[in-house]
Symmetry: C2
Subunit: 317 residues, 2 copies
DNA sequence: AGAACGTACGCACAAATGTGCACATGCCGG
DNA sequence: CCGGCATGTGCACATTTGTGCGTACGTTCT
């Protein structure tokens, strides 16, 4: 057999062609092969994945805000939906979130999701094509108390259906009325197993709650805090939550009874996940999103331009 | 001014050309423009970054081991140097590490580094070309007690010089003989500032120490532990360290006196950094590297094939 | 309004690229 | 040892792609 196509040579040809922009003729001379070989080598390089061509659609995105947010908050990636009057921000953010997820989720991986309107919007915008072979996991328990439209259970199943993957369920509520109650459930092998798997996902997609808005408000109610607990919680100045884990405006986790009654991954667990994306829409979420960014748990932010501007203004130095 | 080239159309053309492999003629018909316009649109798409072409050099890498490690330990990326008899593993790993860093470090970002032979090898393999405009920061204090060849101070300066960026110094030792001593230094504004900046880097590159080998051994000495402290430390079964932060074989951080005397970022700080890469070479590092992977602080591993195989064997399920 | 400019378009031609074919080379199995 | 068989190469030709030029159209400035 003749020597298998020399990888080294393929790489060299690809560099000359795609990076330095030389013609195949020049490359042929430089590498001492015929021009037609160069043509074939480049084809081989593309086929073998040595050359990767990806297209990145900036339509409807505000790249300036994206790079400012990326720099300011040390993010790995950022998607900002340009909102024109009349647009439904949530829908545009959902679209960008869906595209981000499809760009960053690779076959064979696991992905964890929380819940919320933002997440729901993302999942709705994922085309129902299947064939990705990923596993979808819930990062927190179910929420019966909150608006049923945004239940996590559904979201996990719907997402798995659309991308064409498997999923696991977490047969437990997200919020318990006591730490003891939560700990009993945590001891359940099936719950432990799912939660352990959730901690090991490669990609997590979470909604960002903001104090007093949407589910964040309902969450607090569902914990049925005593008066003193409630006071203690308020004294810590909660700014928002991710996966029902609250933090203040500086991004400091708020522990104590409110945290002990949550069944789901912790903020530290999230920090350990290689790629965590937060989704939020609307300037009223600025408080929560700012705190979330400062927890440094998020690697990626998907939001709309008005929220982006609010974040940059509030974080002004 | 006529409306700027329709982004939407550029994207559509790029998709048809690069993803579906249609000829420019077909695209011209489909989009109702002349073929020459299609040619120009594609050029524009490349210039505006809508189409990105990257080449990925698999030379000297074992892609099979890479994907196995990636899957097994939930990494975001992995580079495994194929070692043939006679190669110096460290040199090959350094080369891959350098290439990884150049692929993942973007202009305007900050990068944090620790120290060690592995890091030194990486820095040596970075071509002295400059023009990247990044800032290099030390993640831990200096090490005078350990082999001077691997001092972090030098590494930071050398790396900054090669990539052509700025750097900051941490005017303090990594290891103190008491927590009080460290806390005094931590209170220094200049030190606090640098360390704060180090916590905010977008990319971190760290060496992985393994208990009893290389600098890990010297580190313990330099802390001058009392007998009881030493016993307590050993009882926790240290498997290795990253940035002088020790952990056991399960990846659990080892706190206590040994940890309190370190001046540098913590494991939790590292977990919060969006992209952390660990570098290690040689199968004797398996213990430390396995623990490090299990801390889930690392997003990326750069190693050689013998270490990769040792890791997979030890982690067998 | 009209000049001056910048951008985009199509045509036609030149240059670059892809590919069918014939042939070389190393390996295997009878 | 010799005929497949698989892989790689160069040649010649067909197709595809890039680009200079003349033109059209909208914006801005005078």
């Amino acid at each position: 057999m003749p020597p298998p196509r020399d990888q080294q040579l393929l790489v060299k040809a690809a560099r000359l062609y795609y990076e330095e922009g030389r013609s195949q003729n020049e490359i042929a001379t430089a590498l001492q092969v015929s021009r037609s070989s160069v043509s074939r080598m480049l084809t081989a390089a593309r086929e073998r994945g040595i050359v990767r061509i990806q297209i990145n659609d900036p339509t409807g995105r505000d790249m300036d805000l994206e790079s400012e947010l990326t720099a300011r908050f040390g993010l790995r990636d950022c998607r900002v939906a340009e909102i024109h009057s009349g647009d439904r921000p949530l829908s545009r953010v959902g679209d960008l979130g869906a595209r981000w997820l499809l760009d960053n989720l690779h076959p064979g991986q696991q992905v964890g999701v929380s819940w919320g309107h933002g997440l729901q919007a993302v999942v709705q915008h994922i085309p129902d094509e299947g064939g990705l072979d990923v596993e979808v996991l819930p990062l927190v328990g179910g929420l019966s108390a909150v608006d049923s439209a945004i239940s996590g259970e559904e979201l996990v199943r719907d997402l798995a259906g659309r991308v064409g993957g498997r999923f696991q369920r977490l047969h437990a509520p997200a919020l318990l009325t006591s730490k003891a109650g939560r700990d009993v459930l945590l001891a359940e092998p099936s719950i432990q197993r799912t939660l352990d798997a959730a901690r090991r996902v490669q990609v997590a997609l979470v909604g960002i709650g903001s104090a007093g808005h949407g589910s964040s408000a309902s969450l607090v109610k569902a914990m049925s805090l005593s008066e003193s607990e409630r006071e203690r919680f308020d004294a810590a100045h909660p700014a928002g939550d991710v996966c029902a884990r609250f933090f203040d405006a500086e991004g400091k986790a708020i522990l104590g009874p409110t945290d002990d009654r949550v069944l789901g991954v912790s903020l530290a667990d999230l920090a350990a996940i290689p790629l965590v994306a937060g989704v939020a829409a609307g300037p009223e979420k600025a408080g929560g999103a700012l705190g979330a960014l400062r927890t440094r748990v998020l690697d990626v932010l998907v939001c709309d331009s008005s929220l982006a501007r609010a974040l940059l203004a509030r974080d002004a130095r």
